[in-house]
Symmetry: C2
Subunit: 400 residues, 2 copies
């Protein structure tokens, strides 16, 4: 059994939908059980969000979810019709009908339970279930959405719940690359990558898979095959680390220019101050990424952290309200930054990687503003205009 997920560009127009139907039909005819997950067509979701902004300033989350879930209805119904033309009996299911039960946190709900009974019945009848990605139904029977990249999460969660052999994520790129091919022309496709590396990649700017879907895949041991719905060539397998996997010191280089650095200065260097600051940030639902606290001089310190661009306004509001409370001097945001990260499972046992990274950046005259590391990742915040130069130099230095 295979779960095949098709993103927005993969079902972007009539011809793409017919091409997807053709591929699903061929997968079925070669003897596989197939469950399909689809996103909304092309820019449908963006169009609906724009429309809602024209109509309303308040935009309650429950109604935003009701609005946005219309997108997948269209793509999945059309795909089922295209499959019918090819003689493949397919039935579309909303998130609710597919038994994707979530909490009540509208616009970014979390899956709490999977009850895919109707999908199992449909498979048992020899038919193909086509499921709306990105959506679920809350315990209070309201329609919910899973937030950014939610369709990937739907696909992986279904693969796990149904016991599928693996999950195929079809997209507009042919897999995961050693670096963004638009920046590094000789970047190459990675054939296999571990869940852990993929997690770090997704968290540090790799846009191929949504972070939550990788977490899901890792937790429930679902192998994921990321591949192109335009060339249909084999892509990248995301799976448990195994012996056949080349233990590259560095597997990939990612970059992210979609963050801002928020700094609060002149903070008294006392226990509990940082906690107070980041509790406020968390209360507003902001995901903080990197955090750096300077060494204290005269009992005062600066704290910097990065957040996604679209959270900047709220983050600054929080800083302005919390600064007087903790006795800080000032707070500001810097949107001129970018992040460059090295990812590699082999890094754990190669202590020289960090040094090589810093040397490479220094040789290019690139200043490092923040540093953060994990066992298999090193990230540096640099000036945004230096990001491409850094990625190219690192790709060469580590001989990817």
């Amino acid at each position: 059994m295979i779960v095949q997920k098709f993103g927005g560009t993969s079902v972007g127009d009539v011809d793409r939908i017919k091409a997807v139907a053709d591929h699903v039909a061929r997968t079925v005819r070669t003897g596989n059980q197939v469950v399909v997950v689809v996103s909304a067509m092309g820019k449908t979701t963006d169009d609906l969000i724009r429309l809602s902004k024209e109509v309303s300033e308040t935009r309650p989350g429950r109604e935003l979810d009701m609005l946005l879930t219309s997108g997948e209805r269209i793509s999945m119904a059309l795909l089922c019709m295209a499959l019918a033309d090819l003689g493949v009996s397919a039935l579309s299911f909303t998130g609710s009908q597919a038994g994707i039960i979530t909490d009540t946190d509208h616009t970014k709900a979390k899956i709490v339970e999977m009850r895919p009974n109707r999908l199992l019945e449909t498979l048992a009848e020899g038919k193909v279930p086509v499921v709306a990605g990105f959506q679920g139904v809350s315990l209070e029977k309201d329609v919910t959405t899973l937030g950014r990249g939610g369709s990937d999460t739907t696909a992986v969660a279904l693969a796990s719940a149904l016991g599928a052999d693996y999950c195929e994520i079809y997209t507009d790129v042919s897999g995961v690359f050693t670096a963004d091919p638009r920046v590094v022309p000789n970047a190459h496709k990675i054939l296999k990558i571990s869940f852990e590396e993929m997690l770090e990649l997704a968290a540090s700017g790799g846009r191929v898979l949504a972070l939550r879907s990788v977490e899901f895949a890792r937790n429930f041991h679902v192998p994921v095959h990321v591949r192109s719905s335009f060339t249909w060539e084999p892509g990248t397998w995301v799976q448990e680390e195994d012996e056949t996997m080349e233990q590259a010191v560095v597997s990939a280089i990612s970059h992210d220019t979609g963050e801002v650095k928020v700094t609060i200065t002149g903070v008294p260097d006392r226990p509990g101050v940082a906690a107070r600051v980041f509790r406020e940030v968390a209360n507003r639902g902001i995901n903080v990424d990197m955090i750096v606290q300077n060494t204290s001089t005269d009992g005062l310190t600066d704290i910097s952290f990065t957040v996604p661009n679209y959270e900047m306004k709220v983050a600054l509001e929080v800083m302005q309200s919390v600064a007087p409370e903790v006795g800080a001097r000032d707070s500001y945001a810097d949107s001129g930054i970018g992040r460059v990260s090295l990812i590699g499972a082999g890094m754990k046992s190669h202590p020289g990687v960090t040094a090589t990274m810093f040397e490479t950046l220094a040789k290019e005259g690139i200043n490092i503003e923040m540093i953060s590391t994990s066992a298999i990742r090193i990230s540096c915040v640099v000036r945004q205009e230096d990001v491409e130069k850094a990625v190219k130099a690192l790709h060469e230095a580590f001989e990817l």
Copy 2:
């Protein structure tokens, strides 16, 4: 308690949606409980149908329903958002969530049960339920649609199930007129009309209310107020016949140029032949309107009937297959016809109406091809190019 239904043009764009929200908010603030029913925005449904035709030839009904029901999700979510901006707490509900249970006859399902528990809870909380028109959920838990004019049916069925005082149908005309104002410039708005007259009007080309919604309103005694969402002026009340209602001999003149006449010639004049013909027609789900059978000459007769334009192809297929069986000579369709009807509850007790109608048409040199009558309606089929002339002459002859 009032059920307010807004059609596609009434929620056709951002400004219209805000205007509707404003009107609903004012109705709520004057102390009414309000339940809102909305259609899809403007031409959304037509656009989706066109898209489906580009993707597929087979277009299974279940998937067509899934596709089309996305339209009302968009309009109702946007309306709830606009209401939130005005400080009115509103919750949108799909047909399924609103408890509109139907049979499984996709694309033209019939309501079998109403379970509006969630709407009642929402009203009890002082909130406004906004319900998707046109849609329901089948006993097999699949999404269904109620067919043409389905949103009117949703509104009237909800008014009945919730025990609302009346149902307001907002549209782009200001009520029911004595004739189509585009044909007869001095046609005037009817203030009150009986259910029976409205039924005949709806069945004979009046496009203001869908036939099924009028049947529903009549059967469940729901007064309906048809009015404009552009001028907001009082419109036409459709209700039980009462003493205050002016017993006009003729209330209105309707016309319909959306039908074709199908004729099967040289049919043996034997018992059972007509039954055989119309059983076949019924088996294909075609609604026949008028039927005329000529007097027999030499034991042979002709049978003519009218069907909607879009059923012509299927009707002709049926005739071609049934003609040899019943020994008929030939069959053909004539799309150059139109129908003109007089409607009036007072007609029952005024036998001269038919004669006046025929005299008026004769004076204009208009030939009558078919005639059909009920207690409160007379319809004549004439050449399509004579329809407007006939409507004008009759409007004058009956001093409307």
